[in-house]
């Protein structure tokens, strides 16, 4: 099904099942420990051996020699795979560094060997017996040092630079100006389930039970890496213990398990040790950002410039902090730039809301600072600079066709933009008027109290997505798609979509996900998954409805199909109705289709919006910051399931608290690695950090986005949170911290002295 004109009224609009806060259909499994995650699957194939991955002890250089003798001789050891004996390997397009290092080493903890043994204890002990001699070579590890070498280069995901009007002139002549620099830290996804895979070969046929967000991509990447045909590969990933972007790509666990299983000639299971996660897998690059905003005295932005610097291994993409600044606020003169420098730290790659999460952390603090300079309320300042068209859109990432880009509307309208309403609703609900604009004034016992706000903004991306639906003679529907559920609620919203489309109760729908033998979906990433994959299910269900209608007509020529509706497990028309179960017959009915999106996303800017409001307490003595209240108001199209969507938003808000207050991978600039590479050293929020969180979804539908009239919501919630918190900390203390995370050491020196 092609989606190239805005959706008109369709069966989803009935909202009998869709839009309801249904509890997750996978809940009974997840809460009883019976949902099988990759490393749990002892029963999918017998005789599994254990693989243990050894990471490189250096960041950059090469392996001079490796001695495996002691490890090989260790009791229970079956095989050891290193680059030397792994055979010729390719590299996946999505991997920047190789998944198996040696002799060249590209980053710390890059896998250099996997030891396979009968038991986990043996594999682990043997791995410690491997002797590796390394030769270090010089690397670049400090973004601040490398920043000046940053280059702006376009890639499929980012247009590096843009300019509209005359920024520098407008900025320098603006009556009110802000020029400030901000920085964000390297961050680790730190999903709770470490990357894990069980691999089994059956002849030349490889099956991977793994934990991966993108099944079809993975098949392609495994095929490239192992140099075997895609048809020989099956990837199965029905339950994923969190990903946040870290499992978008094939990682070491999958490759090592596959290689190890080949060498051991039996199935092998591999789970990365927690201590490998920050350095072996991907992370979000740190950024340094400069914001320049010029405005008239009454708060109209006339110039806005946003530059962002980040780092990555050669060939990697930037954390493009400036991208959203092309679209978020009005202003006639503007520039953005996203530069990248070589860093020999581990590979940087997408983490929840790549670009925007970091970009808004800077931009939205700058907006707060600017509002203060203007003597305006920060909500009012943002509303004043709202725009209903994109002020700067000459080129868009992914558009390689320069001619097409030229013909584009330079200022495309937003498909739907209710940012102002988000702020108005939120300010009212939060009691924003109680905020004292003068910082450092509100005290509650030991605590200095402050409020902050920020915009949330994240593009809505749509991607082709296919599904298969099967109706059986009990009237039960099974949906199959390689879509994944990484905690997003895919199982449930897909079931709701199918139930709505076919007129079935939720219990009559079974959803099977995460298997490459199912039709290829959009997968989970970039908040495109929910909207795209349900649209794919919509398309398949449309096809099934046609098939059923045809069958109904064939069975009963008097059946009036023109006004047929699907409800209560039947196809109904006027006084006639036939049970779907009967029409399915003993052989059942199957339909498969994909949703394919036309150019609506080029004619319109499709984005999601929100407003964050937070209240923090800062210990007047120690500078410890604790969240007191959090509210997010979101405008993200139709909300398919308010319960699971709300969870996505509170989860993202929580991750935003981490980014604001504690998360930072600390670089050892001599050895070139992230030092705090475990969950005690890399602190993420715990229960005690998070107050009750409130989320309001504006009641809206966006027919330009998809037949579901929905948009992405999984990443919107993290966008802007860090800035809202930074602004609240400023409001509480009068101390502006522009370097994230905002830890107490950055505050106390500037806070009033204690008596």
């Amino acid at each position: 099904m092609k989606f190239d004109t805005p959706a008109s009224s369709n069966p989803i609009d009935q909202l009998k099942v869709i839009g309801k806060p249904a509890s997750r259909i996978d809940g009974p499994l997840k809460t009883t420990g019976t949902a099988p995650y990759a490393y749990d699957r002892y029963n999918v194939v017998s005789n599994q051996a254990y693989g243990y991955v050894l990471g490189s002890a250096i960041a950059k250089g090469r392996i001079a020699s490796m001695n495996l003798a002691a490890a090989k001789a260790y009791p229970g050891v079956i095989a050891i795979v290193t680059a030397e004996n792994a055979g010729k390997l390719g590299k996946g397009d999505f991997n920047t560094a190789l998944l198996l290092g040696g002799p060249e080493i590209q980053h710390y903890h890059q896998a250099v060997a996997v030891v396979v043994a009968e038991t986990f204890e043996q594999a682990r002990a043997a791995a410690y017996l491997i002797q590796v001699e390394y030769v270090r070579t010089k690397g670049y590890f400090d973004l601040a040092d490398e920043k000046s070498k940053g280059v702006a280069k376009d890639d499929p995901y980012t247009i590096a630079e843009s300019a509209v009007g005359n920024f520098s002139q407008a900025f320098s002549s603006a009556p009110v100006q802000l020029d400030a620099s901000y920085s964000t830290s390297h961050e680790s996804h730190s999903m709770l389930e470490p990357h894990a895979t069980i691999a089994a070969w059956d002849g030349d046929q490889l099956t991977l039970w793994t934990s991966n967000q993108m099944i079809a991509w993975s098949v392609g990447e495994i095929s490239k890496t192992l140099r075997i045909a895609k048809e020989k590969i099956r990837v199965i990933s029905p339950y994923i213990g969190g990903g946040f972007g870290s499992k978008l790509f094939v990682r070491t666990d999958a490759l090592m398990a596959a290689l190890a299983a080949r060498a051991a000639m039996r199935p092998v299971k591999v789970s990365l040790q927690r201590a490998l996660i920050p350095n072996n897998t991907t992370h979000r690059s740190a950024t340094i950002q400069r914001l320049r905003i010029g405005a008239t005295k009454d708060g109209q932005i006339t110039a806005i410039g946003h530059e962002s610097w980040s780092g990555n291994l050669p060939g990697g993409s930037p954390e493009a902090g400036a991208v959203q600044t092309r679209a978020l606020y009005a202003g006639a003169n503007r520039m953005t730039s996203n530069r990248i420098s070589q860093l020999d730290l581990p590979e940087a790659n997408a983490m929840r809301a790549p670009n925007e999460a970091s970009g808004l952390a800077a931009l939205e603090q700058a907006m707060d600072e600017m509002a203060e300079k203007l003597g305006m309320d920060p909500v009012v300042f943002r509303i004043k600079n709202d725009t209903q068209v994109v002020p700067d859109s000459p080129l868009k990432a992914g558009s390689t066709d320069s001619q097409a880009n030229k013909n584009r509307n330079p200022n495309p309208p937003f498909s739907l933009r209710q940012l102002v309403k988000c702020f108005e609703t939120g300010a009212e609900r939060f009691g924003w008027h109680k905020r004292n604009a003068k910082p450092g004034q509100v005290r509650d016992g030991r605590w200095l109290v402050g409020m902050g706000t920020a915009s949330a903004y994240r593009d809505n991306v749509v991607m082709k997505s296919a599904a298969r639906v099967k109706l059986d003679n009990r009237g039960h529907l099974t949906v199959e798609t390689d879509m994944t559920d990484i905690g997003t609620g895919s199982y449930t919203i897909i079931a709701q979509t199918a139930a709505e489309m076919m007129g079935l109760p939720l219990e009559k729908v079974t959803v099977r996900l995460g298997d490459s033998s199912f039709p290829a979906s959009a997968g989970s990433g970039g908040q495109w998954g929910g909207n795209s994959s349900t649209s794919g299910v919509y398309a398949a269900c449309m096809k099934l409805r046609e098939a059923i209608t045809v069958k109904a007509k064939a069975q009963d020529p008097k059946f009036d199909i023109t006004n047929a509706v699907f409800a209560d497990g039947k196809i109904q028309s006027k006084s006639q109705s036939i049970l779907l179960a009967d029409l399915a017959g003993s052989r059942g009915l199957v339909a498969e289709d994909a949703i394919e999106f036309g150019d609506l996303d080029k004619r319109y800017q499709q984005s999601t919006f929100g407003a964050h409001f937070v209240e923090v307490g800062v210990d007047a003595a120690t500078g410890e910051i604790r969240m007191r209240r959090m509210l997010a108001v979101c405008a993200a199209g139709r909300i398919l399931n308010p319960k699971t969507a709300r969870s996505q938003v509170i989860g993202a808000m929580t991750m935003g608290v981490g980014a604001a207050l504690m998360e930072g991978l600390e670089v050892d600039k001599r050895y070139g690695f992230f030092v705090n590479h475990d969950l005690a050293g890399y602190e993420v929020p715990v229960h005690a950090d998070i107050p009750h969180q409130e989320v309001i979804f504006l009641d809206e539908t966006d027919p330009i986005s998809s037949p579901m009239k929905a948009k992405g919501v999984g990443e919107l919630g993290i966008c802007g949170v860090a800035a809202a918190i930074a602004n609240a900390v400023y409001n509480a203390t009068g101390v502006r911290v522009r370097d994230y995370p905002i830890t107490l050491d950055k505050l106390i020196e500037k806070m009033p002295t204690m008596v």
Binding site: A125, A275, A621, E624, V675, V686, D745
Partner: protein
């Protein structure tokens, strides 16, 4: 984890004898520190002598009106003990500020005292670390050292002792009761249990090989207001950046011990007479000769501000 033999000791004598005579043998109590370090081969005992069945899990009144806490009393039970809550509240508070509910259910009094540093380089066996591997160098010096010590440091090591409980015990002038390999019993003032790093950071305490802690004894209660203030980035389940344990009497005199600043629980008795003069003077005495790094210089001011806050809290 290296291979080891596991045995459950059934008597004190057996336990002590085994650990002192078998090369590489170690006691295991809760296991929450030892098992972790064994997985990384930072600890490589050849024998583990499980001391959980020795009946060392009792809290009893001591002859001089104090409290005798068995070495195997779980952190949870010690913190919840009614007498501790009433008379040694700072200890209860310190325990409850440490680790998590689960870990406190496992962790023991002696294990907590003898837990090893959380220096991230100590935990990363690819990195030089004098504590883990004598004479290999100290990576924290010149590296990431935000969590590290600022007093009593040496050129060999700037690690901190991570225990919260030990800070309160130091404040309370606890004594550690042990059985030595030769069977003799001795008591060690807690101030003398832990060592400063000097040139031998791998030697962390003054116990002999095979010496078993049997109990920790608290002298009789000293009254006063008990406060334990732990400062950390996240609100719970995090090691201290710094912590302050204090007992303040009505007349403004009292005692203070500081955590997160040294290789051992840090208390400078001589400085305590300055308590009535306020936080600045008191801190100057406690942290005299502080040697900080770029990353941890903030701790000096943080200690001062935290002590000020604690003193304010007492004043009410």
């Amino acid at each position: 984890m290296k291979a080891f033999n596991y045995e459950r000791a059934t008597s004190l004598a057996e336990a002590v004898a085994k650990v002192s005579h078998i090369k590489g043998a170690k006691f295991i109590a809760g296991g929450t520190n030892l098992v972790d370090l064994m997985k990384l081969q930072i600890e490589t005992p050849t024998h583990l002598i499980d001391i959980n069945d020795l009946g060392l899990d009792k809290i009893e009144a001591s002859a001089d009106g104090g409290l005798r806490i068995g070495a195997l009393v779980r952190n949870t039970d010690l913190a919840a003990n009614q007498q501790v809550r009433r008379d040694y509240a700072v200890l209860s508070r310190a325990l409850l500020a440490g680790a998590s509910g689960q870990l406190r259910n496992q962790a023991t009094t002696a294990g907590n005292l003898l837990q090893r540093t959380r220096c991230p380089y100590f935990y990363d066996t690819n990195m030089p670390c004098n504590k883990r591997e004598p004479n290999s160098g100290c990576s924290a010096i010149g590296g990431y050292s935000r969590l590290h010590a600022i007093v009593g440091v040496s050129n060999s090591c700037i690690a901190t002792h991570p225990s919260d409980m030990a800070i309160a015990m130091r404040l309370l002038d606890a004594t550690v009761e042990t059985v030595r390999p030769n069977g003799s019993i001795r008591t060690i003032p807690i101030a003398e249990l832990h060592r400063l790093p000097e040139n031998t950071p791998h030697i962390e305490h003054t116990l002999e090989a095979g010496e078993l802690i049997t109990a920790v004894t608290l002298p009789k209660p000293v009254g006063g207001t008990h406060i334990y203030r732990k400062v950390r980035d996240r609100a719970s389940y995090a090691f201290a950046l710094i912590s302050v344990a204090a007992i303040v009497q009505r007349d403004g005199t009292g005692r203070v011990a500081v955590g997160g600043v040294a290789h051992k629980p840090w208390r400078v008795e001589a400085a305590e007479r300055d308590m009535p003069r306020g936080a600045k003077a008191l801190t100057a005495g406690i942290l005299a000769n502080a040697q900080t790094t770029h990353d941890n210089a903030f701790k000096v001011l943080l200690v001062e501000r935290t002590i000020a806050s604690v003193l304010n809290e007492v004043k009410g």
